[in-house]
Symmetry: C2
Subunit: 346 residues, 2 copies
């Protein structure tokens, strides 16, 4: 890499979305007089009678959760998307709109209210991955579901209103804009080279090593060259898979392992239960072929300097484009050097 | 408008960026158990000895502010962009980057530490607008400045570390991605119709009236059909201007007036000093002609239901695309019905 980029402002290009991020490596010394986030650090009980997601409890809509032992999925009681709606309603011209339908589900990762991914056992994370697979296939096979968005909002800083370990799945008729961008760029590369864009990128990163965080036989976790959030990471399968449904059982295990290790590193970074949004990007489920798609997951964590100081994506970022201070290489080095054992066990 | 869109999930298209927003009007009844923001409501003094921006005070870098009486601009002490750097350094291939240069400035709106735009007198807001004009022209005329981003982050919820009334200007070599999107869509429309895209849109909105918030002889403030943030608004000039430099003195006054009225409504909404990021979008300054560009300003406020509950753009929004609950029409009606007098004077 051009060494000048370690110390001078520059922009980097996201090969998956075609968008640029402004990097200001000289700016890490800026003092912070702004907002300090409140951190809730109480230890949670394994069962909370007031939690909508704990086994056996009654939810907001009056339904009772089963006494589940393994990951449990249900229809979101306040779904942003509904399965039925006025079919094909449209508005044309400058006020352009169309009706949208879909299904929103909640996935409880584990019955134990006190857990989080980094604290779960690898075999139990494998079960979460298997549930994601099952949901991707179940929802994806429905006629009006053309994309399945699997994600997790962790921590109240990320708008998560319940600390019980869980994620969400929003699946819908149209293919969302962020996925469209990645489809387009992967497709252009595939047509030209007949190879996976992300696969070629991974190869380069595995040689260079400076942005790697973790690696095992089947998966890589790294800070992408074009990372936007301070400690953003990307997990990708080494094998060129289009979607989570194609993982074999060895890969499921390797994925669970890297998820656990990465989330432990995150918790260790500021010695707090690390907030983030994570999400899986994969091929649409509209029945077409997407040989260009390379399955991957991203973590977008908001924290910047400590457990109370986050990066604000505001002003310039909203009107112009994303901006970061520490470089991807610095972030990767920091994460790489963190212990693999959770700080609560030090 | 298709009436079904008042009650059913749908997506709306942003004619300026080409991107969609998911609207879930049925979802406004969702209970909120999540994060409550802390609100600092202390009345501020007119002068604060510890403020870096008050007249006569010494800033972080040791420089002393003049005893300014009207808007005052200085170079940002922690600029994300620097005027000098390795010229034209590039990285090619999948790790694509290029060096970036620019100038970041801070604009103090007024000497009085206790003020905010809604509390300022119209003639003093005119002075802020004249300062923005001056800066756009000064920076824009420099050889390596091809875009001038004027913005304000207000409130600590928006990452603003100092309550002194001020905004920022980041100007740079490359044209940022959000501006590129708007350039492209305005250009396509201009080529086809030889009319301003935003101008035609404004005409339609002025007839329909359901998304209007404020109007005067030269300006319109409305909740755009494709609004993302709950109470997002757009202010546009009725005359087809490419940039702020073209405002005549009558228009400057009308702009100041609508800015004051809109920000009073915002403060009145939840009876708090309303947090937001605002920014001006206008033609690049790379010396080319941009007849398609129509100067406008947007407000992106994070609050959703009260002064302590904000909308989180996380999970689904980060991985798929923006989502909102209340419709643009509901938001516009609420804002329209609010008093024009600041709540502190009720
Ligand atoms: O420049 P400031 O006010 O220190 O910083 C604030 O605005 C900048 C521009 O929108 C952002 O990059 C920062 O994340 C935010 O905290
Ligand atoms: O569905 P929840 O957890 O109530 O809500 C959270 O996640 C959603 C999906 O990312 C967002 O739209 C909401 O703004 C956020 O608060």
């Amino acid at each position: 890499m051009n060494k000048e980029f370690n110390t001078h402002p520059h922009r980097r290009y996201n090969i998956l979305t075609g968008e640029w991020v402004l990097v200001s490596p000289h700016r890490t010394k800026r003092p912070w007089q702004g907002k300090l986030e409140k951190v809730a650090e109480e230890k949670r009980p394994s069962y909370d009678a007031d939690c909508f997601l704990c086994p056996g409890n009654v939810r907001a809509n009056g339904e009772k959760n089963p006494d589940y032992k393994t990951p449990f999925t249900f229809r979101n009681d306040f779904s942003a998307l509904l399965p039925k709606g006025p079919k094909g309603a449209v508005n044309e011209g400058l006020l352009k709109a169309e009706s949208e339908t879909g299904i929103c589900r909640v996935v409880c990762f584990a019955p134990d209210h006190s857990l989080t991914l980094p604290l779960m056992r690898v075999p139990d994370i494998v079960r979460v991955i298997q549930k994601w697979k099952e949901e991707y296939e179940d929802l994806g096979s429905m006629e009006d579901i053309n994309y399945v968005q699997i994600f997790e909002n962790k921590g109240d800083l990320m708008g998560c209103s319940n600390p019980h370990p869980h994620g969400q799945i929003w699946s819908q008729l149209s293919v969302p804009v962020e996925v469209q961008k990645k489809s387009a760029h992967q497709k252009t590369y595939w047509k030209k080279n007949n190879r996976s864009l992300l696969g070629d990128y991974l190869k380069q990163e595995l040689e260079l090593k400076e942005r790697l965080v973790l690696e095992n036989e089947h998966f890589v976790a790294l800070v992408p060259y074009w990372a936007v959030w301070p400690y953003e990471t990307l997990i990708a399968s080494k094998r060129h898979l289009q979607h989570i449904g194609q993982l074999n059982s060895e890969e499921e295990h390797a994925y669970a392992e890297i998820l656990k290790k990465l989330s432990i590193k995150y918790d260790n970074l500021f010695q707090t239960s690390f907030p983030y949004s994570s999400g899986i990007h994969q091929s649409p489920t509209d029945g077409k072929n997407y040989p260009e798609w390379h399955f991957h997951m991203s973590f977008y964590p908001p924290l910047l300097r400590s457990k109370t100081v986050k990066k604000f994506m505001v002003g310039y970022e909203m009107f112009a484009g994303p901006q970061r201070d520490i470089t991807a290489e610095q972030a990767a080095e920091t994460l790489r050097d963190l212990p693999d054992v959770h700080y609560t066990e030090w």
